[in-house]
Amino acid sequence: MVSSYLMNTVMDNVNLFPLFLSFRVAVTATLISIMLGLPLAYFLSRQQSKLSDFIDTLTNLPVVLPPTVLGYYLLVMLGRQSWVGKFLEEQFNIMIVFTPTGAIIAAMVVSIPYLIKASKTALLEVNEDYLNAARLLGRSELNIFFTVMIPIAWRGIISGITMSFARALGDFGTTLMVAGSIPDKTLTMPIAIYDALQAGDKDMVNLLVLVMTSVSIIVLFLINRLEGKMKKG
């Protein structure tokens, strides 16, 4: 009953753009996070220096900073007046602020700490003897990363990726600061929920809230299962 009612309302008058945009933004942000975060997590798990401590602190900063503060920093760093913003606009005609690209960057910055932290912990738990054995059996460090470290630590890494995806999907404040809420351009789900609520569009709010809640429950379920298996070994 409920689902058919929802389906009907979807067919009729709900604009699904925020839903698709959010998933596109979250997926892209997570993919970039994996590419940047995994090597960084590897570096942090193998290095003990002042530099690595500093980077470790820096990567955790987005977790504690208020989203608006983070958004402001991003605006300052990537805005049209900034060095990076000017360079990208002049050389490649790329604009970040108030574009989906901005939303992706905002989502990535707020979510990457979760991926780095979980992956770092998982990689740290890989016994050094496995790596030494692989080294003495003639493999290079890069090869060992893919044939030993990732396969042994994958549960922790996947759990980090899932967490990071959930965080990227749900970001409100930072995305609003950097990408704004331009309908059919940068309006993501969490912001659309707020807008819809302001506009009194209950159908839209219910649908989006249901989607967000389902995704969150699935993510938590996945993480719990992975962590349960990790403990069993």
Binding site: N127, N132, A133, L136, P151, I152
Partner: protein, 355 residues
Amino acid sequence: MLDVSFTKVMNNFTLHSSFSSNQGGVLGILGSSGCGKSLTLKCIAGLYTPDKGNIMLNGKILFHSDDRINVPPRRRNIGYVFQNYALFPHLTVYKNIEYGIKQLDKKIRHNKTMEMLEKIQLTGYENSYPSQLSGGQQQRVALARTLIKKPELLLLDEPFSALDSHIKHLIENELLHIIRNNYDGIVLLVTHNIEEAYRLCNHILIIDQGNTLQIGKKEDIIHSPSNLTAARITGCRNFFDVELLGEEDGHYIVKSKNLVFRVIKSMELSPGKLIAGLRANDLRISPESFNELNTFPCEVIDKIEGVFSTTIIVNCHDNILQVEVAKYTFPQLSDRQHKKLMLHLPADRIFLLGS
């Protein structure tokens, strides 16, 4: 030919390792825990970098601090069996063994791996995971994984410490059998157990607090340790402060408190203060007199019963000695407790050390 001479400083610990081995067969590295045995192996393997010195293997320089040569572990062609075996938990037995020869053609790889599995008697286990194997089987897989690369040097880091003692002997034999039949290079075996070292090795190297104390044939190491620490590490329990009084008929005459006894003269010593050492199981004890040199009356103070042997603590002219006797000979001695027994100190088993 392995030639090692290096210094490695770690926190408060300094390791000076200096020895060479040109024989095939097994060289045991013996020392108490934390003395730098494992660190020595790890430096030779290249897993740690020494601060100074050099490491040569079969004419090739693996490490030379002055020439800034440091061959990475993956190019050293050294086999290493870790204490916990370090089998990759996510790979099957087959894939574990094959891991080091990935550069070879698939067909050759398969043949070599299957041949190895047969040698370690684990044919049929190729699809099992390490966690499904017993400790001894895991160890054989770890050995196969490294032997398949035909290493120039094989390092075994406390290979039996993770095994239950009742199956240890069996597994020791198996492992050595596989090594002897399939490997003819130098083997270094780290252990803290003199029994194990003696059973498995031809030569023994003694390390204490980061220093190399003595290297030699195992019989020589037991018969004449170079100093007090080496004697202790090899299990000697009786030491006396003695004074060298003189010599007679190829024997030194030494005095410890009220006990004067003779020691076979095996090297030149000048009169003065020395330490005499004598192993508990070399002493002989009996209710009757032996009618031999160095036989003295003694009094039983205590006895400590082991599984197969009994240690009797005796007082012999104010010297307290530990005597180890086979258990079946003890009952006849035990009813004479607190009575006088006769103690014989074999003159050829006593060693003298500079104090």
